[in-house]
Symmetry: C2
Subunit: 107 residues, 2 copies
DNA sequence: TCCATAGATAGCTATTTAACGATGTGACTA
DNA sequence: TAGTCACATCGTTAAATAGCTATCTATGGA
């Protein structure tokens, strides 16, 4: 076939979004304070939400959640910040916006 | 976990787009005349492009292409029109636009 | 009526994905 | 310094996906 003009990472991003679990994570992280108010070790809006809370809310095993978070991070949609024993994940709005823009003009 | 508010078909649509082959098909069909000018049995812009031409352009087996087209159709992104022995596929711009709108306000 | 053509469907295989439990690692804590 | 906590990584298994060949169905032409 013709060479694909779909960059590798765009496909990776599309795959990251093609999962109900990962879309749910992204949506929760839009308003972390509303969904993870239990977090006391830091402002969820600023630094992000720790894995334990996301795991509890999803009701699945911690390694599985870790894997979903990694895929979203690899796609560029999440960034992590490690503070002490905790990893705080938050949305990368810039990458999300960029992806929407690309899809809008490509699709 | 909380009940997901991602409707089933939104996930199906996202999966349909998470494939380089299917994205390529959608892009070609944006300007069918430019990519499938060989088609003589009907105006590709109006009625769509037949499976044989898409198959030739992709360079993969006909059943595989048929499968990709079916997934795009199930997602609502393509519609088919059968005329004689031919099936003409074309973009469903309304569904594509709707999906972009949904993603924009959900993501 | 018979054959060819277009496309869909079925069946198989290889690969990828998603889940899990077990274990490793690094950082606080008693 | 021993233990615990937070998270990542590893290894396995089951299910989903993508490709192929073979075959079926329907239409059109000789």
């Amino acid at each position: 076939m013709d060479s694909l003009n779909l960059p590798e990472y765009r496909e990776e991003q599309a795959k990251a979004l093609a999962s109900a679990v990962r879309m749910q994570i992204l949506q929760w992280l839009k308003t972390p304070g509303a969904h993870f108010s239990e977090q006391t070790t830091g402002d969820p809006v600023r630094i992000g939400v720790c894995v334990t809370l996301i795991t509890a809310r999803l009701g699945m095993s911690q390694p599985t959640v870790s894997r979903h978070l990694e895929l979203l991070k690899r796609a560029g949609f999440l960034s992590v910040q490690r503070i002490g024993k905790w990893s705080y994940y938050r949305r990368n709005e810039k990458a999300l916006k960029e992806y929407r823009r690309w899809l809008g003009e490509t699709l």
